[in-house]
């Protein structure tokens, strides 16, 4: 005998509903509670809000050019470099002074020997 499919479908669907898993029943009860209390399902909006804020901050940090003069962390390095360059110049000046001093003495001795 062929059973009427329509009523058989309804019976099986009812059976499916009656055998909803316990975890799902719990979640549905919680959803019902939130709906009645009008607690907004804002989980999606929070996720997108966070992602949007992070993207904005990242884009802003990449777009803003660096200002090397205002970077305080490099000041000490610059000072050290300047100091070193000053000292280099001083050393070079000393070398030149020694040279000319030596040249002066050499020329004097040369003159004395020629005499």
């Amino acid at each position: 005998m062929t059973k009427k499919p329509n009523s058989e479908f309804a019976d099986d669907l009812q059976f499916l509903e009656e055998n909803t898993q316990a975890t799902d029943i719990f979640r549905l009860a919680r959803s019902r509670k939130f709906a009645l209390e009008q607690k907004s399902p804002s989980y999606r909006s929070i996720k997108w809000l966070t992602a949007g804020a992070f993207s904005t901050i990242l884009a802003f940090s990449l777009m803003v050019p660096y200002d090397t003069d205002s970077l305080s962390t490099d000041n000490s390095i610059d000072k050290a470099l300047h100091a070193q360059s000053d000292s280099d110049e001083t050393v070079e000046e000393l070398y030149e002074e020694d040279f000319y001093y030596w040249l002066d003495i050499y020329q004097t001795e040369l003159l004395v020997s020629n005499d």
Binding site: M1, T2, K3, P5, N6, E8, F9, A10, D12, L13, Q14, F15, L16, E17, E18, N19, T20, Q21, A22, D24, I25, R27, L28, A29, S31, R32, F34, A35, L36, E37, Q38, K39, S40, P41, R44
Partner: protein
Amino acid sequence: MSLAHIKAKHNKPLVEDCQSDTTVVTLEYNSIDQFLKYIERRAFHMARLSTRSLDDAHDIVQESMYKLVEKYADKDHRAWKPLFYRILNSKITDYYRRNTVKDRLFPWKKSDIEDAQDYCNTAVEQGIARSSEEPDAMMIRKQNTAKLASQIQGLAGRQKQAFILRTWEGLSTRETAKAMGCSEGSVKTHYSRAMNRLRSALKEDYND
């Protein structure tokens, strides 16, 4: 609007019998919270068969419940059912649209599809058998239910909606048309095609 306020506003005796399409129907709820408790499991399964994801189904049901209470809690009790299903179907449609865009942007992140048969098998194993059923009848029913759920999952969207609302929920053609936002003729067409497809796929399981 607090829960107490909603209950106080809507927890009033309802005319027990009301007419729907010339048939007298006894409503099983007389307040918004009773209605949600009455409808939640069916709505969940409807969403699960449409979305193939448990988490998404729960999200859709929660959003639908929230919107019904927010917008339509003060409407007539008889209007809640078609309104709720209208909201549910539009949420499911939004889900399809979001997924289409997401799958195009991130094709490597397609969500896993949870098979309806797996859920049915697990649910029935964990569920309580009807006291009148023998174990072999229970096993046959489990297999039939799993196959039916799998076939419903494979139906086209509108056919699925029409079938579930007409067969599972027992809505009339007019009420189904309101819930789906289409004409009664369209409902009949979708429902007829869904039934033909299910009959041809499941004829061996429903014949003696």
